[in-house]
Amino acid sequence: MFRPSHFAAVLLFALFASVVFGITQRETPPRMIRYGIYCFVLFVGSAVVLSWLMYLIAR
């Protein structure tokens, strides 16, 4: 059984979703790459920010 950590699961999810978003939502390869990286950073960044928010609220 594959047991990634919570953060590893976030990274994998962000990677796969960003690749598909990049290819399907933009027309040219350079813009696909830029948009894919943008989506990846947003996925991971928002997960980190929300995690800190929940940590601070729970204290």
């Binding site: 059984m1 990634p4 999810f13 979703a17 690749v19």
Partner: protein
């Protein structure tokens, strides 16, 4: 003449919904039909990778719809096309989510299906000329 040859070479003749249906049944197949090899390979790797990891995490494959959340999960799972059907036939995936990673796995499988639908619609848009 050259344009007609190019269109033929790009798989842009025949049944207009073929890339959509092929892309739904097999991840990336719609783009392969249109000879978009690189895009198709990346889409297939991403969607297959997400689905396989979901199964490896003992994610749940929705088999029936008992409440609204199950209906949404089943709709997402069905987006995987043949992957879902074959996995159901082989009895892969868990019946009940018992550990945290299995919950991640269930989401991975549902999202892989939704991403596959997006990829299939993209193949259709390429076929109809709405996207280049």
């Amino acid at each position: 003449m050259a344009t007609a040859q190019n269109k033929s070479a790009a798989g842009e003749t025949g049944f207009v919904y073929l890339p959509l249906i092929a892309g739904w049944l097999v991840p990336g197949a719609g783009h392969f039909l249109l000879r978009k090899w690189g895009r198709g390979a990346l889409l297939a790797a991403s969607i297959l990778g997400m689905f396989v990891m979901g199964i490896a995490m003992q994610g749940k494959l929705y088999g029936g719809a008992h409440d609204i959340l199950d209906v949404l999960g089943l709709a997402g799972d069905l987006g995987n096309g043949l992957l879902y059907i074959v996995s159901r036939v082989l009895g892969l995936g868990a019946d009940q989510v018992q550990v945290t990673t299995a919950d991640y796995g269930t989401r991975f499988i549902v999202v892989a299906g939704l991403l596959n639908v997006i990829a299939a619609v993209d193949a259709h848009n390429l076929r109809t000329g709405r996207k280049s």
